[in-house]
Subunit: 338 residues, 2 copies
């Protein structure tokens, strides 16, 4: 049995990343992380009649890649945990219907990926089987038309707005075996600093990210020097600046160890505002950049904090603010002490 | 550490229902379970300007009642797990923002309540703290306008359609202490038998309910005679008939032990089609009927199977079917052997 240190769960044994896989769109492949992305969609609609079906097919590819990478079949999976940005998490639900394993749907907006990894880890710690599949996705076309305006409206694009990453990631977390280790988890509190602009979600999420990072460091009595890299999920460039400022206010200088998955996905030449957002931001960076980096010895320890703006077009129209959440997991290289 | 028997998690110690609370609307109070419901809304809008805010306020009341019933304060809660029927689970997210505890949002349509109880139990089993708060809600007004048509359209009401229960339930699950016990959990697979009619969700969910019940009995090598009561979540009267038929086909006669929370909430005189539906159906029956029944010795063992139609208005318009899921927990009276 693991135990709680403050708000942080210390697992009794490191959870293993037994397999992972991801897929991205063309725009993501053209960004700075392009060389790391192994699987790219030939077209963002994948030949489907609607964007939602394309997102589903894309996500299935990521899952099949993960299973293939781990020499696993669908039958090896004891439990599935998944979610996405769409109303009623339709991508996840329809995919789960094709599996013969129990499924838990989750919704944490863009924090979904790490929420899933934490729930998978606690389930395994609690004795729920050997292998849990976690997956998530986001698609620029499906997200924009649901959360903001249909693209055909030609809405103006302010420089602080982010661009939803088209991509999906899947991970099999397990008990036995070799792989990148998940040693600690710090689930986040929902924070609401009164931000109301759906085009400025990085700003809305920054306090939640800072809070979870600070809580994690305090709970384990550690510092930025204990990590090679601390990556937030999808704050984008503007949100990242705010987190840096909030950490500075607490006397912490993250230096060049702090970065953001969304900000890393696109270059400034790609004209995508403040960078990437979406559930896929942290999921594709995890699979393509963090896991290989930890396996190949480029990093020993990484803290990943997926950030979620719990934004709703309905409550926005009702004049409400945007509550946010950020969940963190500590990753370490195989064999590395937690 | 618990262990998996087939698809069923056998907890290493019984999880305790340390506190619970609920609230219902007037229509629910007028139904057959009326005498059991302790807290009733004076008006379905609770004086709020929109139905969504009313649902939120209603749910907060259920949570405060649960905490008060358990002599607990917000500070006692290590983790919160919640979800509801609304897009982006806005009821749950906005409520979580008022707490100072970590929060996991979940979406399992009307299976949310038991999904939450299972995740809370596995988290506790895995060492995640002592007390986890689980809550869910549904509201006739918010659900109908999101999932079907605004009520003002005066849509026709076929006899097999169900009526969304207005209500909310909250439970604190814990490790130590006295209370109704959760001894086993059988999370369900997503099933899709091709049903497409959003007015006939009981029919869509019935196969998932039957599958989870059969799996649970098989995994634990037990029979209906081992339970005093087996309650599905919100199949309504039509869905319940189908489950009965599916069980009969497997040689099982549930007799009068099988019933459905949704079907129990309203009387046929109330003209609500095939009975109740919604996340609240199982949550309010759990708090008002099952927990007192187990505490007072009317039942020794109960199986509760919350059913969820993972229905989306968008995928319906895209010609898709309605996948469904059902999650079960085994409850036993305090001191009763699991």
């Amino acid at each position: 049995m693991g135990f709680l240190a403050g708000q942080t769960l210390v697992f009794s044994f490191p959870m293993k990343v037994l397999a992972s896989g991801s897929i991205v769109g063309k725009r993501e492949k053209q960004g700075p992380l392009g060389p790391y992305f192994q699987q790219v969609m030939e077209k963002d609609d994948l030949g489907e009649k609607c964007w939602e079906k394309a997102e589903r097919r894309m996500t299935e590819r990521a899952i099949h890649t993960a299973l293939a990478n781990g020499n696993l079949s669908k039958q090896d999976i004891d439990l599935i945990i998944g979610g996405d940005l769409l109303n009623q998490i339709i991508t996840a639900n329809f995919i789960a219907a094709k599996f013969d394993s129990p499924f838990f749907g989750i919704y944490g907006a863009c924090s979904t990926f790490v929420e899933g990894l934490i729930l998978a880890s606690t389930a395994i710690e609690g004795g729920y089987g050997e292998k849990v599949l976690v997956f998530t996705s986001s698609h620029y076309q499906t997200a924009e038309r649901q959360y903001r305006t249909p693209l055909e409206y030609g809405d103006q694009y302010p420089p602080y707005k982010q661009w939803t990453v088209t991509g999906a990631g899947a991970v099999v977390v397990g008990k036995q075996g070799q792989g990148v280790q998940i040693t600690h988890a710090t689930p986040g509190k929902v924070m609401d600093w009164g931000q109301k602009d759906p085009n400025d979600l990085g700003c809305a999420m920054a306090p939640a990210a800072a809070e979870t990072i600070l809580q994690h460091l305090k709970d384990l009595r550690i510092d930025f020097k204990d990590y090679d890299l601390v990556l937030t999920g999808d704050l984008g460039k503007e949100g990242l600046k705010i987190v840096r400022k909030l950490l500075n206010q607490e006397g912490i200088d993250p230096g060049d160890k702090l970065n953001d998955c969304g900000a890393m996905v696109y270059s400034s030449k790609q004209k995508v505002g403040a960078g990437g957002s979406g559930c896929a931001a942290s999921a594709v960076v995890f699979d393509s950049y963090l896991v290989p980096g930890l396996l190949q010895g480029r990093f020993k320890k990484v803290l990943l904090i997926a950030t979620g703006a719990l934004f709703s077009p309905l409550t926005y129209n009702q004049g409400e603010t945007i509550p946010c959440v950020a969940h963190a997991i500590a990753l370490s290289a195989p064999g590395q002490e937690g």
